[in-house]
Amino acid sequence: MVIEQLTITTTPKYNFPQENINLELPRTFLELSIQSIKTSEKTFNLNNLLNFQQLTITTLENLNCLSAKVIKLKPKPDNSIVSAIDVSSIKLGETSTGFLLAIRGAIVWKQNVNYRYLRIGPFLFHVTEENKQRIYNVLRKAYFNFAHQESKAALNITSTPNIMQMQSRLTGLLEKWLQMTLTTAAKNTLILWDGSLTVGTPETPTRVVESILQTARKRENMIMAFSKATRLRLMSHRITDLLVKSRPPCLLELKGYSNVNKPIRLLGEIYVARLAKGNCTFRLDIDKEIPSEQRIEAVEKLLGNDIVSHGYPETLRLAHILCTFTANEVIAMQRFIAKKAGLNIVSQPNIRRILFGPYGKGEVDNF
């Protein structure tokens, strides 16, 4: 079984300035990807149970707050660029020593009426007990190098994950890299993330997110993280229910939520956003360090410059759709593995699961 030497092709051009982009992470990603699938194994057992996609990592949070304030919004069209990032991963199947993982990220941005995208991946990894340590360490090194901030000591805080955590760790690495890259490249841009600004988990190291937010402020970018709002409560009422009475578009600013446990921290001010008619509300986190009026203004700019007809920004929806894997792509990657790595595919993938999730997502509750 031989895998041809794959060389990195140059990153495709896109409209953001590129001088600050550090390519070490994707390069290392690719190298490890190739190395890991150069395995000597011959069978590749597609395990139905494992065959689900993982959404962007969000920490499990149950937040309770004491008060909330409704803020009316007025769309502010000003030709701001709206961009969004999302990453997704899927297990392609099991081998006798581990599993095969596919990861892909997408950046989408809107200029005038057109959407443009850049997709990175899919990268494939064969993660085993034996190589997980090496993969993780090498990637983390590349990752922390780009973050510049973390001390040697910090490197040791997170121990090597167990093999089951590798999917979220690797996905998180690519996501943070994309977020950093986009923030460094863009200027005066609304940047939408899938998730929250909660930090302190292995996937969202505090220093890294802080550094990204800092860069964003310097370059006048606005980071806005969207997620489902189902776990937010105001005096034990579901907040989503409260907002239904107010006329969209509007925000509910949450105040006085109970402290979270260390090392978890909230770097964002938390809102519940009802951006369009219908029952769709979302949790929205915006950098605390930014003055309140600017945060509100950013949401109004988003309303004025992107389509939010379903209560969710189209740019972010597209990023999400573009990175998630369809059943067809799963089959294609399995064929790729079978051909390039000479692995025999043993059982059929669980197509049902992939088909019945929205846009091909498996049902994974991340909240």
Binding site: T326, N328, A332
Partner: protein, 485 residues
């Protein structure tokens, strides 16, 4: 390729673009463990129902805008994705199964999905398997794979054939090819040539005489094809009067007496017939009726009292007995009634010669027969006349002009392109193949390509590009702008 499904005698096979399969192709499904195989024919090609396909299409159309982008795909997985997207489902009809090298029409056996080997079966190989070619090969042309499609002349012998397709697709061309091949093997052929196209069969395209020159006899009614009444049988004459000239029954009875009396006096001639009608004692209406038919005969110019003008079709038919030959009845520029008269005469003559074994058998080629063949002949042709040894090939661009009963009886159908739904419907009544095959393949046939159905191909429908013929083309359509082109 992989078997996906089997429903009845329809197999669905998953295939990829590089398999290069087209409609009409044959597929061999070999199950080596069961030591059996199936032969199936692709009658339709569809997109495979790929999971996630809709999502992928939806990705490319966001709310109210366009999306373009680039992929940094370092492992180059994208081609694998498009490969899957381009996979297709072949809808195949099972035609036969093979066990121990023997073909059988059984279609019930189910091959293994996992270890069966599915591959394309070249038509040349299939032709070998079915032994389509015998001692009297006729090369019809080439298959898609450029191998010759060869049938055997014996598969036309004793058979009823239909050549049909829309205008200008090459029906007459194929008909000529069959005629020359039959003549080549020594057969007697009679052609009702509606457009005068067959007169060139004895010449090559440069106008020089070809090897068949002496075996092609063109008879043009009123010119080199005139009859003396004495050549006609009373029965044939009555058929002409009753069927072509619509003479009522009572008058026909009177005519019978007139004819008999003339015959007894050995005075059968046009002139004597006119005289006798004039002086015959009968009802005035009957006399008028007889007279009007009499003048129709005279005016047709088909009859003569002058022996040197008369021609004897018998004599041409006999010429074909040794080395084969074709008698072309050129019906171009002949009125509808005259056509019917000549056809009545010719068919009557053929039955007469065949029934007393002066001829062995005749291959009859009839172009647009509904224009001259009377109602009662259709059934006759497939029953009684066939029994006597008249083996007919109908050529038409109006398939509904041939009755469905004839389609069911047809042994071979040479089907050219049809796009019209009604036409396809008419043809698909043919018993020799299922309607889906006919409809699905005939719709896509390019000009000069023909789907052969029936005994000639042992009921394995095959598409052939009919070969060129080096014969003079005659009597092209009259055109105003012809010279200017």
């Amino acid at each position: 390729m992989k078997i996906y499904k089997k429903e009845g005698n329809v197999l669905q096979i998953l295939s990829f673009p590089e398999d290069n399969i087209e409609k009409g192709d044959y597929i061999l499904i070999e199950d080596s463990k069961a030591r059996k195989a199936l032969i199936a024919q692709v009658i339709d090609i569809q997109f495979a129902n790929i999971p996630g396909m809709l999502e992928e299409l939806l990705r490319s159309c966001p709310d109210g805008g366009n999306i373009h982008g680039e992929d940094f795909d370092p492992l180059e997985i994208a081609p694998y994705i498009t490969y899957i997207q381009d996979s297709r489902l072949l809808i195949c009809k099972i035609r036969a199964s093979i066990k121990n090298e023997y073909l059988s029409p059984s279609k019930s056996w189910l091959p293994s999905r996992s270890h069966s080997i599915v591959k394309k079966l070249p038509v040349s190989r299939l032709l070998e398997m079915i032994k389509a070619k015998g001692k009297l090969p006729i090369v019809l042309g080439e298959t898609k794979e450029s191998s010759p499609l060869i049938i055997d002349a014996s598969s036309l012998d004793g058979r009823l054939n239909i050549i049909t397709g829309k205008k200008e697709t090459g029906k007459s061309h194929l008909s000529k090819l069959l005629v020359l091949s039959l003549v080549h093997y020594g057969a007697t052929v009679v052609i009702f040539d509606l457009n005068g196209e067959y007169a060139g069969l004895g010449y090559s395209s440069d106008g020089a005489r070809n090897e068949y020159y002496h075996r092609i006899h063109v008879l043009t009614p009123g010119k080199n094809f005139k009859l003396m009444l004495g050549q006609l049988d009373l029965r044939v004459m009555l058929n002409i009067l009753v069927h072509a000239l619509r003479l009522p029954g009572t008058s026909a009875r009177e005519f019978r007496h007139i004819w008999k009396s003339l015959k007894e006096r050995k005075e059968l001639s046009l002139r004597a017939l006119g005289e006798t009608i004039r002086n015959w004692h009968c009802n005035i209406h009957i006399r008028d009726a007889l007279f009007s038919r009499y003048y129709a005969l005279v005016n047709s110019g088909l009859f003569t009292d002058n022996p040197s003008e008369a021609s004897d079709i018998e004599q041409y038919l006999f010429k074909t007995r040794e080395k084969g030959g074709a008698v072309v009845i050129n019906l171009r520029d002949t009125s509808s009634i005259d056509r019917q008269i000549m056809v009545e005469y010719t068919l009557g003559k053929l039955v007469e010669l065949l029934s007393n074994w002066r001829l062995k058998a005749v291959f009859l080629f009839a172009e647009e027969a509904h224009l001259y063949l009377r109602e009662t002949y259709w059934d006759d042709i497939v029953t009684r006349m066939r029994h006597f040894g008249i083996f007919t090939t109908f050529i038409t661009n109006q398939p509904d002009s041939i009755r469905s009963g004839i389609y069911r009886q047809a042994d071979n159908i040479f089907l050219f392109n049809f796009t019209n739904e009604n036409d396809l419907e008419a043809v698909s009544r043919a018993a020799r193949v299922d309607a889906e095959t006919v409809k699905s393949i005939a719709r896509d046939l390019p000009p000069h390509h023909c789907l052969v159905l029936g005994k000639a191909v042992k009921d394995f429908p095959m598409v052939v590009k009919v070969k060129r013929l080096n014969v003079k083309t005659m009597g092209g359509t009259r055109l105003f702008f012809k010279e200017k082109n």
